[in-house]
């Protein structure tokens, strides 16, 4: 089963080494991966292949690893509604541009080396959409775990 792991670390490259070593030791199959440097550290996004039973352990191991600031784990939802989409495109492709045309409210979460993660508004869940120049190529994902604090939903008080 495929999962998208988005990680943010501090600026010490050894933190990235620790993460890569965890993938290696735990037998996680890395399908595609990209790394980006930020002023305060590194962002890593990896599309990985690992059994569902191991994901809890992997997520918890990553989040408690020294130097890791945040981990978010997305589950591939091939047949479901996508809150998030991952696009891995070559330089000649126009997938991202066409996706943003189709879903202009989408929010870009991550972009590096042709790999894009976008959040799609809840009322416009993305499904493969035919456009003038063919079907959009993306992978739908649902966010299942994150260490990033999410805004809490507060029920409206009846007046």
């Amino acid at each position: 089963m495929q999962w998208l792991m988005a990680l943010e670390t501090n600026g010490d490259p050894i933190s990235i080494c620790r993460l890569m070593n965890i993938f290696r030791r735990k037998g996680v199959g890395v399908v595609t991966l990209t790394l980006a440097a930020r002023p305060s550290g590194f962002s890593l996004m990896a599309l990985v292949e690992t059994p569902e039973a191991d994901v809890d352990h992997l997520f918890n191991l990553l989040r408690r690893t020294e130097g890791v600031d945040h981990v978010t784990c997305y589950r591939h939802e091939p047949s479901g509604d996508a809150s998030f989409v991952f696009i891995d495109e070559d330089p000649a492709s126009t997938n991202v541009a066409r996706f943003l045309q189709t879903f202009p409210e989408s929010k870009l979460i991550f972009a590096s080396h042709g790999k894009y993660l976008l959040e799609v508004p809840a009322d416009r869940r993305a499904r493969p959409v035919a456009s003038d120049s063919g079907e959009l190529q993306f992978m739908p994902f649902a966010r299942v775990k994150t260490t990033v604090a999410q805004p809490e939903l507060v029920a409206a008080q009846a007046s």
């Binding site: 050894i14 080494c17 070593n21 039973a53 918890n60 408690r64």
Partner: protein, 585 residues
């Protein structure tokens, strides 16, 4: 501008502010500036004869005190020699801070003399590793290292110190409190989780507490005992958990797993609720995973979220500090009982009686009447004569398992063992570290002749500083556990396990100025042990034990706990003779 100090002076002051009383190390080129500063500093340093012993000693110090142990090696080989000790500390969650010398900053990456990629090499063996790039950073990084070592799940941390940084001058700013003073503890359970756990405990009829080193690390043994007595639930411990619950307590089941007793392993197989506390479902504990406690619901209490559902899936996880968890659980159980929910006490009584009958069927025992010295007898005798608060450090192998089976553990932090990594050579230097922490307590290293030969060069350290550790060698002239496995699982094809070519350990000890004696007859054991433990000097006693003795019960590799072999098969006379030939010196 305030006063400036060298990096070495700042480092020693930082250690002092972390309340480090002693550290273990061996000097070399890259750390010469540090030893120069040490010359006039008030902090105690023990010169070991190999850096591996420094790491093991720091580990031993940490296990008995709960405070981080500190070790030091120079760059290159000094650092790489620490790695086994750090890996062992990592596996057993022991807070150790390792300081390593490094070549000057400008020479890193140039393959300089005694340069090694210490940060890279230590990465999987430590919780964290830091390269210090400026002397002014030393106070902050040392603070962070000590904090990281004790926070969450404890473990080793390495700080790599380039020679240029040790020599650089800076104006230090020290954190106001020691990093190890207030460990960070996560808490991820909710009150309703504790309520549910209490309900599960009250509903169960055949519950067992399965306790690991986490209970000792979080100082939760009082809560464990209170909870066990309150709920009337028996307690089994892992090797790491020995001492967390008194061996002599009526609810004590002793150690479980590969060499656990029949009653203990049966109780795991038959229980309807297993509460794992600070334990990690290690393969030596579980046997074949799919059959482990298969009739039970499971609760897992652990400070490390990554342990939850790693090996065994559980019904309820309480991620947080064991002590805080157990306290909340005790309070909640009492509340539920006050509200009328009663424990299934009649069922519990039947359960305890059933365990007692299993104990009667297959007790832990050995041949007490033969003419040879039985290793179990030696360990039992040592345990009987040892002080109430004696600390036992074991090595790895058969004697380690016999110690787990036959030593009576009364207090926490009295059993030191390289449990996860199983590193031979650990016992003796770990005892040395423990003795430095508690100079007035009895510290006994029970080691095998194989493991002792890996670190016996530190007899010199013990002699030099008159560290009064007691070294008891369970000498079977072989790599006993390997020999046992070759005998049982490899059709007696004994290959490279013969250690008959060894020094006379008692004479070797004498050559270091340490009293040594050899014991070869069963009847001499009690008097020899009494004399061995009678003074405050380092001593060595070399017990020549029955070389054919094996550790039983045993769960064969890949088998379930229910498939344990409780006693050795009867051997034919000719086979006995063949063994006698093999062991004839």
């Amino acid at each position: 501008m305030g006063r400036v100090f060298t990096g070495s002076e700042i480092l020693l002051e930082s250690l002092s502010r972390e309340k480090v009383e002693v550290f273990f190390g061996l000097p070399g080129g890259a750390v010469l500036p540090l030893y120069d500063a040490l010359y006039s500093a008030g902090i105690r340093h023990l010169l070991v004869r190999h850096e591996q012993a420094a790491a093991f000693a720091a580990d031993g110090y940490a296990r008995v005190t709960g405070k981080p142990g500190v070790c030091l090696g120079t760059s290159g080989p000094g650092a790489t020699n620490l790695i086994t000790g750090l890996t062992s500390a990592m596996m057993d969650s022991i807070p150790v801070v390792a300081l390593t010398g490094q070549v000057p900053l400008a020479m890193i990456g140039k393959d300089a003399f005694q340069e090694a990629d210490t940060i890279g090499i230590s990465m999987p063996s430590t919780k964290a590793s830091y390269l210090v790039r400026a002397a002014v950073d030393i106070p902050r990084i040392i603070h962070r290292a000590f904090s990281t070592a004790v926070s969450g799940r404890p473990g080793p941390v390495l700080v790599d110190l380039p020679k240029s940084v040790l020599m650089e001058k800076a104006e230090p700013v020290y954190p106001s409190t020691p990093g190890s003073e207030k460990p960070e503890r996560i808490r991820e359970w909710r009150d309703e989780d504790i309520e549910r756990a209490a309900e599960m405990i009250l509903e169960s009829r055949r519950a067992v507490f399965y306790v690991g080193g986490g209970v000792i690390a979080s100082d939760a043994w009082r809560e464990l005992r209170e909870l066990a007595e309150l709920a009337h639930i028996p307690v089994t411990t892992t090797l790491m958990g020995l001492g967390a619950f008194p061996s002599a307590h009526p609810l004590s089941l002793g150690m479980l797993g590969m060499h656990g007793s029949y009653a203990t392993n049966q109780s795991i197989c038959q229980c309807d609720l297993l509460v794992a506390i600070g334990a990690r479902f290690d393969d030596r504990v579980t046997g074949r995973l799919k059959d482990f406690a298969s009739q039970s619901k499971k609760i897992h209490i652990d400070v490390d979220p990554s342990e939850v559902n790693k090996n065994v899936r559980v019904d309820l996880a309480l991620v947080g500090d064991a002590r805080e968890n157990l306290r909340a659980l005790i309070d909640e159980l009492k509340r539920q009982v006050r509200e009328g929910k009663t424990a299934a006490h009649s069922g519990r009584q039947q359960w305890l009686q059933r365990i007692e009958s299993w104990r009667g069927e297959h007790p832990l025992t050995y041949d007490k009447y033969g003419h040879t010295v039985k290793p179990q007898y030696v360990i039992e005798t040592l345990s009987n004569f040892a002080a109430e608060d004696a600390i036992l450090a074991v090595d790895v192998g058969q004697h380690q398992m016999w110690a787990a089976q036959f030593w009576s553990f009364n207090q926490p932090r009295t059993c030191l063992s390289s449990s996860g990594l199983g590193s031979m050579g650990y016992g003796f230097p770990a005892a040395m570290g423990a003795q430095l922490a508690f100079p007035n307590r009895q510290v006994i290293a029970v080691v095998g002749d194989g493991g002792f030969q890996m670190t016996l060069n530190d007899l010199a350290t013990v002699a030099q500083y008159r560290v009064p550790v007691k070294i008891a060698i369970i000498n079977n002239r072989a790599l006993g556990m390997v020999r046992q496995w070759q005998e049982i699982f490899f059709e007696k094809r004994y290959c490279d396990i013969d250690l008959n070519f060894a020094p006379d350990f008692s004479k070797l000890a004498e050559s270091y100025g340490i009293r040594g004696v050899r014991v070869e007859h069963r009847t001499d054991v009690p008097d020899a042990v009494r004399d061995f433990l009678s003074d405050r000097e380092p001593r060595l006693i070399d017990f020549w034990v029955d070389p054919a003795e094996n550790v039983y019960p045993i769960v064969p590799p890949g088998a379930s706990l229910a498939e344990m072999v409780v006693e050795p098969p009867r051997v034919q006379v000719e086979e006995e003779e063949a063994l006698d030939d093999l062991w004839a010196v």
